[in-house]
């Protein structure tokens, strides 16, 4: 007799029916042709900014060995468009919608969180405190523990929704930032955003990205992210969402075993448009083959 497989995981007060969701910026309503959104653990559109923003110079993507660099620059039509158009476009799908917020100041994060926190269609907020594409040569809020702590604490005041802090991997100690976010009141930690990177065409001597530097994603970065998930899991009791370089079910499982309760998949969808649901299927197959009833048993189960 088949036992019932539990793939439900919790992100703060939010229950996801499975741990697989898209990574912000690599997912849009347009992808419903490729995959069945109702199979996803959550829906997570691209980070939005308060005001419309044009995005960065082109080329905005380039490839590297087993990875890619992007510098889209959070091209966004602003929060009003998000409320009026993006959110409703996902209305017919079951999975909870997580809104990813990108802002230029703590005040703006607070302001946007207030608005989105009061929108009944939004189930959780992901605070993108780690986008390396902002002005200031790739620096980000999430590079400083006190800024991180302050930012999360202030947002915490204005909303009851689960708050996911999306950390940057471009730091000396991700544990320090994780602890700061936890103390600030985050409900979950996304480990992590892209690594700041650069590539140059040696013939033209020009950077392959219009904005010179950009965020590095794809399978190349996975070992760094797995390490960070493991490190964060040692110091924080918050659920971790693993993100960076997942291409298949085994990659996702590796992050779960390292300490992640859920995973996000970005770049993989560019290579395999059905990556999200394929990964979910591969995880389920693994659970069955390894006779594991509940995915939560796997979380952080690495034997060191």
């Amino acid at each position: 007799m088949m036992k019932k497989l539990n793939t439900e995981v919790k992100i703060g007060t939010l229950t996801l029916k499975n741990p697989v969701m898209p990574a912000s910026g690599a997912f849009g309503v347009e992808m419903q042709d490729a995959i069945d959104f109702n199979q996803l653990g959550a829906i997570l559109p691209k980070s939005i900014t308060k005001y419309p923003q044009p995005g960065n110079a082109k080329p905005r993507v380039c490839e590297t060995t087993a990875g890619m660099i992007n510098s889209i620059g959070i091209q966004s039509k602003g929060i009003d468009y998000f409320l009026s158009t993006i959110i409703p476009s996902f209305d017919t799908f079951e999975p909870p919608l997580i809104a990813s917020i990108s802002a230029d100041s703590i005040e703006e994060f607070v302001e946007m969180s207030t608005i989105l926190g009061n929108n009944g269609s939004v189930s959780a907020l992901e605070l993108n405190i780690s986008c390396p594409n902002l002005k200031g040569d790739g620096s980000a809020f999430g590079m400083d523990k006190s800024v991180t702590n302050k930012l999360i604490s202030e947002v915490r005041q204005v909303t009851e929704l689960p708050l996911i802090a999306k950390l940057t991997p471009n730091v000396t100690s991700i544990q320090e930032i994780a602890i700061a976010a936890e103390k600030g009141g985050a409900d979950a930690l996304n480990v992590a955003n892209t690594l700041l990177a650069m590539a140059i065409d040696v013939d033209s001597k020009r950077p392959l990205i219009g904005n010179v530097m950009g965020g590095f994603s794809g399978p190349a970065v996975k070992p760094i992210i797995v390490r960070m998930i493991y490190q964060v899991a040692q110091v924080s009791s918050l659920p971790i969402i693993g993100c960076g370089g997942i291409m298949n079910g085994r990659d996702a499982l590796e992050m779960i075993i390292a300490g992640a309760s859920a995973v996000q998949v970005g770049t993989a969808s560019f290579i395999h448009p059905t990556a999200l649901t394929d990964i979910l299927n591969e995880i389920e197959t693994y659970l069955i083959e390894h006779d594991i009833d509940d995915i939560n048993e796997l979380v952080g189960s690495v034997i060191v």
């Binding site: 380039c62 889209i72 399978p219 969808s269």
Partner: protein, 260 residues
């Protein structure tokens, strides 16, 4: 749009820098239009990592053909694919050209491998009994591809090359205004493959009040409208608007695009 593993029926070098591939696409559950493209996984490796966009060159009942320029890592890998192998492609993607049956004569202005994209237009036009006039521009005569293919569809083909010193914009302009506009009433201009020729085509379109369509190329990430890698600007009345080439294009009204 779906992802497929399609059997490769032919993959053959057709000139110094160009290759021709025919794949069996009988599994497609949707028709393919001229101007649409596929995202090709050039090799089953992580280097080259991203898929490559190639527009359809010829559209047949059970097969789709590509004409591609060997440029960098991805297209170089593609040349190692052999008949009998399968190729991983996703598509058809984007919006194709509009080819209105009421038209009589159309003008194609193609540079280099842009002809791959416009060849499919010539094929569709032929089927709709629309006459094609084409200017094909290339570096060398050897690179002037698909001329016979277009002629096979009854097109009048004008060839210009650097080699012959005939490909400068002024000369192309004079061919269009003196020879072509003299002989034919052009109902629509289609262009692809060169910034300079596109600007010229855009001017012609405006000055002579002929509608036009252009297929744009931008570096792509997702090719599904999600990532905003492939944006370009079009005019929406007086304001510029950012659009995604992969999903809102690659074909746009010629007069609206902001050619950088």
């Amino acid at each position: 749009m779906k992802q497929y593993k399609a059997p490769v029926l032919l993959n053959q070098q057709v000139s110094n820098r160009y290759w021709h591939m025919i794949v069996n696409t009988s599994m497609l559950d949707q028709s393919v239009e001229p101007g649409q493209f596929f995202q090709i996984r050039c090799a089953d490796k992580y280097t080259p990592f991203l898929r490559r966009p190639l527009s359809v060159y010829r559209i047949n009942e059970h097969t789709t053909e590509f004409l591609y320029l060997v440029k960098g890592k991805g297209t170089t890998e593609m040349t190692t694919i052999e008949q009998g192998d399968t190729i991983d492609l996703m598509g058809p993607l984007g919006n194709g050209f509009q080819i209105d049956s009421s038209m009589k004569t159309i003008l194609l202005v193609a540079r280099g491998v842009g002809v791959a994209t416009l060849a499919a237009v010539a094929q569709a036009a032929y089927n709709k009994q629309i006459h094609c006039v084409a200017i094909l521009s290339a570096r060398t005569k050897e690179d002037l591809l698909a001329a016979e293919f277009l002629e096979g569809f009854g097109a009048d083909v004008y060839k210009v090359t650097e080699e012959d010193g005939t490909s400068d914009v002024t000369n192309v302009q004079s061919i269009i205004t003196n020879e072509i506009f003299g002989k034919y009433k052009i109902d629509c201009i289609y262009t692809c493959g060169s910034r300079r020729l596109s600007k010229l085509a855009q001017e012609m379109s405006t000055n002579y009040d002929i509608p036009g369509q252009i297929a744009l190329e931008e570096h792509m990430g997702c090719a599904m409208g999600a990532c905003f890698a492939c944006v370009c600007d079009v005019m929406d009345g007086d304001v510029t608007k950012s659009v995604r080439v992969c999903i809102e294009g690659p074909v746009f009204p010629l007069r609206k695009v902001v050619i950088e």
